[in-house]
């Protein structure tokens, strides 16, 4: 297959598998095998794109023209490839995990769940390989809508309420700001294509372009920059595999990916550096980083704490983009990968605790480390990556982001990064420390009943935890891709 076709298949394959999953609903084993198999095929396909991209190819696959001059099309470039690699690899792991979780937790409507899950991946691939802003926006909205049934999976009043917040914020920001920004860009530049060096330079005054940048940053509501972050904690009512892959990797990364892509290919770093609003927005991101960490402290519910941690971490990437220099972009791009591996491990562990011990609150996890050593061991490694400590991959992206702040001459932002790392050190490590060293709560009936989570779940979190360590030893592949972006 030529690279162009691979890109198209990468978007189409999960979509086709969604229908297969629906058709196979009566045979759960076959259905889940199809899901896992598709994930495997998808990753190998995306992997085959790495070679051509490194050789300097930028394969394009035009689909159709929607309006004169506005078209739907795919184009593979290094940043999108990085995102696609991360998402497709973690889909394999999550597919395994989800089978264990959904069965272990006796969830209903599993067929619907897996089908919408596959559609979400298809849309994420579409965003990753989008050739222009219209395509990106279309797949962006597709993700919002097809994850709604996943968020509201349980159908309870609580889920319904969370669904309203989810849809309300994501649609308000995307229609209210992002769509406006896209049409405005079209009006100014006459094109929506992602081009190296950007398309907006010289089309309007810096004041106008500053406003446009604000619209793009807040319009990517999935990036959860405050004050448009409330949807992410709300989405935690979903089953844990959704929180793990979608609300730590695919959906939220689509948001920050949009901001990175717009920074590099719509504004261009040269132009971005001259915009006044880039600096303000960098401070908005910095505020989100600190406030997100502080709120995470107050949360006793483990998934809620992880959600606020995600809000904080996503703004690292937004910050990296807005620094408008190559270290910032490299750091931001690599943080997409590093945070994904780390955070998915944490969510996997949280889900395992829920399934095996039926505990959601951190204060009640004392003593669980002895019965669930693998789970909390993985949690520990994932935490290291999020904090940015060796020997976990997160150290690298924080390193580059720090260099970016120095290059931009923003010592204040460097301090923010450091403070946030310290905060995350405390609120994340509290969990394994309690689990291993505290006594169980008095009313807990911990006896024979509790043991490690189902095997599929353990395999999944072991894989991601080991990958986090591996990425510290060899961050090369991602680094090289990001170098291609900035050169």
């Amino acid at each position: 297959m030529s690279p162009e076709v691979i890109a198209a298949v990468a978007v189409g394959l999960p979509l086709v598998s969604a229908f297969a999953i629906l058709a196979l609903g009566k045979w759960p084993n076959v259905r889940d095998a199809v899901g896992i198999g598709t994930a495997g095929v998808l990753f190998t396909l995306v992997l085959r794109l790495v070679g051509p991209i490194k050789d300097g190819l930028r394969p394009e696959y035009p689909i159709l023209e929607v309006l004169p001059g506005v078209s739907l099309g795919l184009k593979v470039e290094p940043l999108g490839l990085l995102f696609a690699l991360v998402a497709s690899f973690l889909w394999i792991v999550t597919a395994l995990y989800a089978v264990g979780y959904m069965r272990g937790h006796h969830e209903k409507n599993q067929t619907r769940f897996f089908a919408f899950f596959a559609i979400a991946i298809s849309a994420a691939m579409g965003v990753a390989f989008s050739a222009n802003l219209f395509t990106l926006f279309a797949f962006y909205e597709m993700i919002t809508l097809c994850t709604f049934p996943l968020v509201t999976h349980h159908g309870t009043p609580e889920a319904k309420k969370a669904g309203r917040v989810y849809l309300g914020i994501l649609l308000t920001t995307s229609i209210g700001f992002q769509l406006l920004a896209i049409i405005w860009t079209w009006q100014l530049a006459g094109t929506l294509d992602f081009r190296e060096g950007g398309i907006l330079a010289g089309t309007a005054s810096n004041g106008v372009l500053s406003v446009l940048l604000i619209l793009f940053v807040f319009g990517a509501g999935k990036a959860a920059v405050m004050p448009f972050h409330r949807w992410l904690p709300a989405a935690m009512v979903a089953p844990t595999p959704v929180s793990a892959l979608l609300h730590a990797v695919a959906v939220v990364k689509v948001g920050v990916f949009t901001i990175l892509k717009v920074s590099v290919y719509v504004f261009g770093l040269d132009l971005l550096g001259t915009l006044a609003s880039a600096t303000w927005l960098a401070w908005v991101a910095a505020t989100t980083i600190i406030l997100g960490s502080l709120v995470a402290f107050t949360k006793d519910n483990l998934k809620a704490r992880l959600a606020y941690s995600t809000i904080s971490q996503l703004s690292y990437i937004v910050l990296g983009a807005l620094l408008a220099n190559e270290w910032g972009i490299i750091g931001g791009g690599m943080h997409i990968a590093m945070h994904a591996f780390g955070k998915i491990t944490l969510f996997f562990a949280a889900g395992a605790v829920l399934v095996a011990a039926h505990e959601k609150d951190i204060s009640r996890m004392g003593g669980l480390g002895r019965t669930m050593p693998i789970t909390f061991g993985a949690f520990f490694i994932g935490s290291l990556s999020i904090i940015g400590l060796p020997p976990a991959g997160g150290a690298w992206s924080k390193w580059f982001l720090g260099m970016g702040t120095l290059e931009a001459g923003q010592i204040g932002l460097l301090v923010v990064l450091m403070v946030s790392s310290l905060l995350s050190l405390v609120y994340l490590l509290e969990v394994p420390v309690r689990a291993f060293f505290s006594a169980p709560p008095e009313d807990a009936h911990r006896g024979e009943g509790i043991h490690e989570a189902p095997r599929l779940m353990l395999i999944a979190m072991t894989v991601t935890a080991l990958a986090t360590l591996g990425l510290f030893l060899n961050p090369g592949p991602f680094y090289e891709l990001m170098r291609l972006v900035v050169n």
């Binding site: 309006l67 219209f134 049409i183």
Partner: protein
């Protein structure tokens, strides 16, 4: 025969209507109506092709050349409107079979189809003719039959709704005929092309200005421009389901076409917008309509009424596009004419399916319906996406051009317009989602009688045909946007 297609477009349904009344058998009348509507659609397609290939068609009725005889004149604008009207007719009639058999007395069914086809005749007549008095005649044909159709609704309030529409519609028609009369007094002609030349020669003139005023008010009443919309919500709510689906997507659209024809072709856009400053009237009213009616829609408990208010808001979008008086704005208006017909046609057809099985379209009655009528409710969600204007639907294409049109204009007030269009899209999310939440998240009320099943295929297939059209023309909008763009340029007098 192809030479006579313009007149056949009107004559075929005109002859078929009494035929429906004469056969006195429901199914046969339906068969005649079906054949007529499909033939009309076929003719409309042929006409559009010819106009695209050869330019405007002029047809002298009975061989009498204008200005003595009546001229039928078809250019891109009305060829496009013909497509809209006949396409909706061709989809709604097959759908009507089951729905009408349940909602209307068997004895009245042949008369129902006669009135239906007569209404179609009137709408097509307004659209093809190039003679202003002929416009009035066909307007009365379509309106009178529409009053009868609405009055056939099951609910007794349908009668007052029809009566209200009758009174206001007649006032509107009277205003229109007064305007036409004044123009005739001043120029001595009723032919649109003649009028456009003579009015330009006449120059500024108080009688013409008054005629302009009468026409503006009369047409605004017919197209339900805020605040002249009060007849619409009741009429749409209480009319039989098939009638609502048809009238909502055609009658107001044809009235908008009249507005375009009078103000752009007959008066000329320079006179309408520069001298009479029509935009100063239309723009604020459109904006108020968009916002206030979206807001009102949010608080409705009857879904049909909710969509009726939404229709008034959507007509506001069309008028907003027109009042920009630019090629992009006009393109947006004409596109939304087509797109909104598909959106609302589809959504009202969904409600007809609900009515057929549940017997009510109150939100309360639709609780938990997604489990019992999955295809129907999925169609509602899909149509709702289009109404909201999400990508890959026609609603998105309309929004795109509307916002682009506003961004092209200078001045802070256009930012308000942009903000309002985006805000009201989000308000559409709210009122659509109220129904979605009820259908998908709430428990069904206790059932009395036989369990509710999925709507019959004879209704689902036409509904889904229109839903899929919403997506088809949203994914590949090159055809509609090019036709609308060329039509807009033609109306503005700019060579394509």
């Amino acid at each position: 025969m192809t030479v006579h297609l313009p007149v056949l477009q009107v004559v075929i349904p005109l002859l078929a209507a009494p035929l429906c009344a004469l056969v006195r058998h429901g199914r046969i009348a339906w068969g005649i109506a079906l054949a007529t509507s499909w033939a009309s659609f076929w003719i409309a397609v042929q006409l559009l092709r010819r106009v695209q290939a050869e330019g405007p068609i002029s047809y002298a009725l009975g061989g009498w050349a204008a200005p003595i005889g009546i001229e039928y004149r078809i250019d891109l604008v009305n060829a496009f409107v013909l497509i809209i009207v006949t396409a909706i007719g061709a989809v709604v009639i097959p759908y009507a079979l089951k729905s009408v058999e349940q909602e209307i007395d068997a004895a009245k069914i042949p008369l129902f189809y006669a009135a239906f086809i007569l209404c179609l005749t009137g709408l097509l007549g307004i659209t093809v003719t190039g003679d202003v008095f002929n416009v009035f005649v066909f307007l009365e044909v379509s309106s009178l039959s529409a009053y009868a159709l609405i009055g056939l609704g099951q609910d007794r309030r349908a009668l007052t709704a029809a009566y209200q529409y009758l009174i206001l519609g007649s006032i509107g028609a009277t205003f229109i005929v007064i305007g036409i009369g004044m123009m005739y007094v001043m120029t001595g002609t009723l032919n649109m092309m003649d009028l456009s030349v003579l009015l330009a020669e006449l120059g500024p003139n108080r009688t013409i200005a008054v005629a302009f005023g009468f026409l503006t008010v009369g047409i605004s009443l017919k197209l339900a421009l805020f605040p002249l919309h009060s007849w619409l919500p009741n009429a749409y709510t209480y009319a039989p389901s098939a009638v609502t689906a048809f009238i909502a997507s055609t009658a107001t659209k044809v009235a908008v076409y009249m507005l375009l024809r009078f103000f752009f072709t007959v008066f000329g856009w320079a006179f309408s917008f520069d001298v009479m400053q029509l935009d100063l009237v239309l723009l604020p009213l459109a904006l108020i309509a968009i916002f206030s009616m979206s807001l009102v829609a949010i608080f409705q408990t009857n879904v049909k009424r909710m969509l009726a208010y939404s229709s008034v808001a959507q007509i506001g979008y069309i008028i907003l596009g027109i009042s920009m008086a630019s090629v992009t704005g006009l393109t947006a208006g004409i596109l939304h004419l087509f797109n909104h017909a598909m959106i609302k046609g589809a959504l009202f057809m969904v409600l007809g399916c609900v009515m057929y099985r549940v017997g009510s379209v109150e939100i309360e009655a639709m609780r938990g319906l997604a489990k019992k009528m999955p295809w129907t409710m999925a169609a509602f969600v899909a149509g709702g996406f289009s109404l909201i204007g999400l990508p890959f639907t026609v609603g998105f294409i309309s929004k795109w051009y509307l916002i682009l049109g506003a961004l092209e204009r200078d001045g802070w007030q256009w930012w308000l317009v942009v903000g309002l269009v985006l805000t009201t899209s989000l308000m559409a999310v709210v009122y659509i989602w109220r129904v979605v939440e009820a259908a998908y998240f709430q428990d069904a009320p206790d059932e009395v009688g036989e369990p509710i099943r999925e709507a019959p295929l004879a209704m689902l297939i036409p509904t889904w045909t229109l839903i899929l059209a919403n997506f088809y023309f949203g994914i590949d909008a090159t055809f509609t946007s090019e036709v609308a763009g060329s039509a807009a340029r033609a109306l503005m007098g700019i060579a394509p």
